[in-house]
Symmetry: C2
Amino acid sequence: MDPIVEALRAIVGDNGVLCAADLASRSAGALRADNLRARALVRPAGTGEVAAVLRWCHQRRLPVVPQGGLTGLVRGADAGPGEIILSLERMRAIEAIDPQQRTATVQAGVTLQALQEAVEAQGLVYPLDLGARGSATLGGTAATNAGGTRVLRYGMTRDMVLGLEAVLADGTVVSALHPLIKNNTGYDLKQLFIGSEGTLGVITRLVLRLREKPLATHTTLLAAPDFDAVAGLLRHLDRALGGALSSFEVMWQSFYRLVTTPPARSLPPLGQEHPFYVLVEAQGAHREADGQRFEAALEAALAQGLLSDAVLARSDADAQAFWALRDDVEQVMRHGTPLGFDISLPIAAMDGYVRQVQQLLLAETRAHRLYVFGHLGDGNLHLVVTLPHADLARLKPRIEALVYAELRARGGSVSAEHGIGLEKKPWLSITRSPPERALMGAIKRTLDPAGILNPGKLLDGGAP
Amino acid sequence: MDPIVEALRAIVGDNGVLCAADLASRSAGALRADNLRARALVRPAGTGEVAAVLRWCHQRRLPVVPQGGLTGLVRGADAGPGEIILSLERMRAIEAIDPQQRTATVQAGVTLQALQEAVEAQGLVYPLDLGARGSATLGGTAATNAGGTRVLRYGMTRDMVLGLEAVLADGTVVSALHPLIKNNTGYDLKQLFIGSEGTLGVITRLVLRLREKPLATHTTLLAAPDFDAVAGLLRHLDRALGGALSSFEVMWQSFYRLVTTPPARSLPPLGQEHPFYVLVEAQGAHREADGQRFEAALEAALAQGLLSDAVLARSDADAQAFWALRDDVEQVMRHGTPLGFDISLPIAAMDGYVRQVQQLLLAETRAHRLYVFGHLGDGNLHLVVTLPHADLARLKPRIEALVYAELRARGGSVSAEHGIGLEKKPWLSITRSPPERALMGAIKRTLDPAGILNPGKLLDGGAP
């Protein structure tokens, strides 16, 4: 028996630790072909056990990799054979839902979907939403500052966390479970842990802000004649809908054609000849009155030349069909092996950026395809380049370099919502300056001086 | 000539430095009877000069107090005779307004009002608003994470800052002027500086998020039969107005009577017999359609017993009159010397809290009055206790103790939006736990190891 496994079992019980051999059959995560590797996987049942495990590892300088639902896309929770995985999977209690304060207090291992379903009965929503909702944990969404499809209206996870409890590398429990919207009493420490990808502490509990459940949703799919019209539509609809706009998802033509051409499941609700398509959603309070406003806003957009065609969802099934084509990203696998990017940049720079990337890709290879779609309202585009599998290894570094280098001059970000992990660490300097990276390093050393927490993710360095 | 003044003049020019004698006629700030004191006041003209001044002071371990518009209420920018004031008053450039990205890039010394006026021409708003808008600087509102009257809809300053540039104590310029809504590339360093009251760095430039200018505003003053009805109204209106609710300001009866009784300027728009009054504002896109929705929501509230009476603003003048009575806080001076509090707590605990404070105050003195009002939608109450001036010095510590102690058990905050400064530092431990305060101290020592930045504010310690 591995003495480390034995020692961890003394802290969390026999059932709380899996040894290296137990992990061979556990998947390394969503969209991954490999299985977990680690010295051990430890599953504390509460904050006290998390603290005890970290204290023990800290004393021995053992590296610890916190894991949530393993739905991240940047290898931010990968562990090596010498590392200890700390999984929050046994901490799945929804401790309280307060309908008056409109807050939920949860343990970090609760899944996003479990919370969404639990609050619905109270006429409330937790407005974070993303495809991985069934597996993604609330701790993981906080540690990665998850975004999703309604950031335009509700912000990112950072905007939904009122308070949290985290355990530092040395086992210190920092309890800041404030349920308050306003609390100007010194440094807002929760911000350190949100989006730091498990490198500064392990989030164990959260107080999350809930919102009133919208009483009516209106959805439409639009076609636009050019990118300026798309940008104009965003401002027009944001203004005309008076705060109700909740999604503004754009699809470049190649992506729209891909997801509306067999064998894709969806038929094209609008002809495939338009350069841009936009899926628009508004959430309000009155089915009829909001519907009239929504249609009036679209008519005004048509009159201003901001759209060329539109189809309204007349039922929930229609709306689901529009979302289904937007979400049918796996179609990119049809024409090669995909290389995905999650970038953000100023809206004014987007059209030129995509054209430039397309041109530079052509100079590298004519065997590729480029699909572009994303959350335009947040400045966030997803680019997918597909390549013949045989070319992937050779071309990947060159394509990454050109996609990211073009962002630098435009003030863009190499990761809008997916994070850095191991996958994007080589490109961090495109977006963050040397003084920013130096300050990040200083904060890492302050909170985790031995470098045991998720070593090598996001920043270089780790346990000596 | 003071050699320190001379040396600073060599950095920023003769016109850039005021010596101790020059300061004797400069007010110490809004609502202050005293004048500034300091060894010198230095006014850099740009980020480079801020960096040079800080580098020079850091080498000599000279304490530096950053100052904005001096409209804070917690003595967060007070300087002593041995300290150097760093004023951003010469950094007043609005560098860019981007109507498509909906961002403004500004120097920190720009006033809130100057930006509000500059963006209006573009059909945009910078939604932060507060009474001191004419003097408060954007750097100051960021350093203190200012709140104001529309937090319910738009959040606090923290939610409006996309990027910033700050100078650390040693003169390092950390440029993080990202114009992006989504940027998950490592630690979100701007959060460190926002709300840290000038103790971690000097904010020199900001990229701020602008919003579409609302096309219609509806305002009403309501009376409610009890606190449960007030809390119910908040949820009801938030739901029924579908995202348009922008203010929900509550007034307890004693405050309403005060501001609607001569010599106060306002007449009572509603009778003075109700226990609670609420000023409600909704911002949307259509005067007529929003008005119908607004009235329907109020009728439904009446039918549910959530309100006892209501008067709608039929004109901008009406709306301004409702706001004028809410904002006529200076009436509290009529019946004694005021002692003000800016607290937040869960809504469910508010009514009991106010009753308990009232009872404990009676045990201390019968010569007081208690006025309560605030941003209920954000959980933020302002309490004002007035006392005979002769009793103030004796009773102040006891009244502070009872107001704050009652917050501890209820998970409340000793400062919702005003910050800590010197004024509330003795009470910080009511809201922030020992591990939180220890972590704040560790971050302070990491960013400002010599302790020269705004020493003694927020946290103990400072320049050795």
